[in-house]
Amino acid sequence: MARTQLRATDGARDSQRGDRLTREDRASLLRHMLLMRVSEERALTLYKQGKVPGSFYDGCGQEAISVGAAFVLGPRDRMCILHRDLGAHFVRGVTPDRYLANYMGRAGGVTGGKDGNMHFGDRDLGCVGMVSMLPDMAQVTTGLGLAFKMRGEPRVAMTFFGEGSTANGQWHEAMNFAGIHNLPAVFVLENNQFAYSTPQRLEYAVDPVERARCYGFPGVAVDGNDVEAVFDAARVAADRARSGEGPTLIECHTMRMHGHGAHDDMSYVPKEMFEEWGRRDPIDRYIERLTAEHGFSDDEIGEIRRSVKAEVEEAARKALDSPMPEPDLATTGVYADAWEPLGDGRAPWSAWRGAEGGANGAGRDREVQAA
């Protein structure tokens, strides 16, 4: 278990842990993690009922990472979200019905049936969807960052990948390019112990976070099952990016608590290891902290749970009501007629309220100061 110990290189300079979060933010973090967990459980049921063609992939146990990291972003920041990161889609504004419909190949899915499962990104919410080849999106993220830098805009490009991806040459290419040009990119590495079935000892000789310094930027390791730890690391990284200080690699230690896909029984995972990580469930831990340290009552937690369940049930009904796409759609859209900019994402963190015209100007100030 030596490799799961937390360590930090020169990027961990933040001592103001969690102090940028309001009570409402904390409820939102929990809500988004639960929305991911419950939506994926519902999707798995649909899969078992034969309503999901193809296969099924989820991020059970990794909810704190995509939620905590995406939560720091402003509306005009951009993301390339991967397949264990449903929470990031929800933070940016995708609704669960469109996620479920995408899994079922329905017209109401984010890709309208053109692509399946987690291979989507809502262009209207500032997201570029993933491809199966990993970590291709790290390269695209670097290009998004280059565009922001060329225009002198205080914006951030963020992406995710697993430790398995760090073995691929394209990971090196992306890190190297981002380092050379000091690009405003945040690379979130989800070290979930296995690349499908291959254990870490056969994936790399040196922990990937240590490689960040070789590319000329900081690498930070955090507890990936602690949503506020992820949020803090991502916030520091995003601030660095926005103010022109360059990229950051954040390694989040976690464990994939389901198989690579629904077809994978995880027979390769030692029982003790699974049980140990089970005791570190990110949602259970956060609820404990909210009640012990932040005065949340059982009733409040229960209400969040109930509203999430109701939302997902309603979403499933809506997704199941969505028609299959018309076959004619299959041969449309190969080429674009015109370039159109991506839309902006939802930015639920209270610090961004100013950027959306609300009372708190912190978000806009953040951009202005960086500029």
Binding site: G143, V334, Y335, P341, L342
Partner: protein
């Protein structure tokens, strides 16, 4: 103005970079060095190093970074130092750039310049014509100019197109082809073939270096040969192909790329399916055989289509 094919590419790129500040170029050694073939010579002085970016030796990165910048409103014109090296950037081209709009409705307005072709002992890794690899990747457009005028006009159209475009520039034409090139803005529509030579007895359907070969052969044979320059390989101008096939009834399809499942095979299939009853002879192909491009001049000349091969193929088809 009179310009070489190479100067026309350079002029097209410079014209668009002056007109539109979102256009920038990137690639290996394109900066102060001006590129391996000097297409971007003087660009750093005029546009600055940020708009003529030297990249590390990482072809997937060149493509992937271009995709990201294009999504955010730039129009990157990337240079592969040699078209052969696109194999190292193939994944980003076919999996990320090509499918982006179909899957997500996100437009990727980028150009990938691919200096291709043999004839100068470049050997197996500096001589290839990889266009057919990309014909099988829906979502990409592919252009292959044969004249200086089209080299400029198609590059400008490629830059303005909202899709990823593979721009096949044949190295053998760089300094050997010269012609009148309109000054300033000049575009040639993507998807339209050009009748390079009007004739009634047979048609040579060609693109890139094979057009030049066909023109020389037609002149030397002094026969009534039509030459259709495809100019765009994806999407293919099927109407022009069928019109010329129906008009002459005899078609030779010629290209420097290897034969099996090449662009010529598709052209031949289109004619067989839609103009069979107008044909007076089977469709013939003149291509490089299915071999890697060898190094030694005698071996290379033995496989790349030569002028005599073109003349012989035309004579045989005319006599059929």
């Amino acid at each position: 103005m009179t310009a070489t094919y190479l100067e026309a590419i350079s002029d097209g790129l410079r014209t668009e970079m002056r007109r539109d500040e979102t256009v920038f170029c990137l690639g290996e050694d394109v900066g102060p060095f001006g590129g391996a073939f000097k297409v971007t010579d003087g660009f750093v002085e005029e546009f600055g190093a940020d708009r003529c970016l030297d990249t590390p030796l990482a072809e997937n990165s060149i493509v992937g970074v271009s995709v990201g910048a294009a999504i955010e409103g730039f129009k990157p014109v990337a240079e592969m130092q040699f078209a052969d090296f696109i194999s190292c950037g193939f994944d980003q081209m076919v999996n990320v750039a090509a499918k982006m709009h179909y899957r997500q409705g996100i437009s990727v307005p980028m150009v990938m310049r691919l200096p291709s072709g043999g004839g100068f002992s470049g050997g197996p890794y500096h001589s290839q014509n990889p266009e057919a690899w990309f014909v099988q990747a829906p979502g990409l457009k592919i252009v292959a100019p044969a004249t200086a005028e089209d080299a400029k006009g198609l590059l400008i159209s490629a830059i303005r197109d909202p899709n990823p475009v593979c721009y096949m520039e044949h190295k053998g034409l760089y300094r050997h082809v010269k012609g009148d090139v309109p000054e300033g803005e000049h575009s040639v529509p993507i998807g339209e073939a050009r009748v390079a030579r009007d004739g009634d007895e047979m048609t040579v359907i060609a693109y890139g270096s094979a057009v030049l070969l066909a023109e020389r052969a037609a002149d030397e044979l002094d026969e009534d040969i039509e030459i259709l320059d495809l100019r765009t390989l994806a999407p293919l101008d099927r109407d022009a192909i069928l019109a010329s096939a129906r008009k002459t009834g005899k078609v030779l399809v010629a290209h420097e790329a290897t034969q099996s499942c090449g662009v010529g095979a598709e052209v031949s299939a289109v004619i067989s399916q839609h103009a069979f009853e107008d044909l007076d002879a089977p469709v013939r192909r003149l291509t490089t055989p299915d071999v890697p491009i060898p190094f030694s001049p005698t071996l290379e000349q033995a496989v790349l289509p030569q002028l005599d091969d073109m003349k012989e193929a035309c004579r045989e088809l005319l006599a059929y």
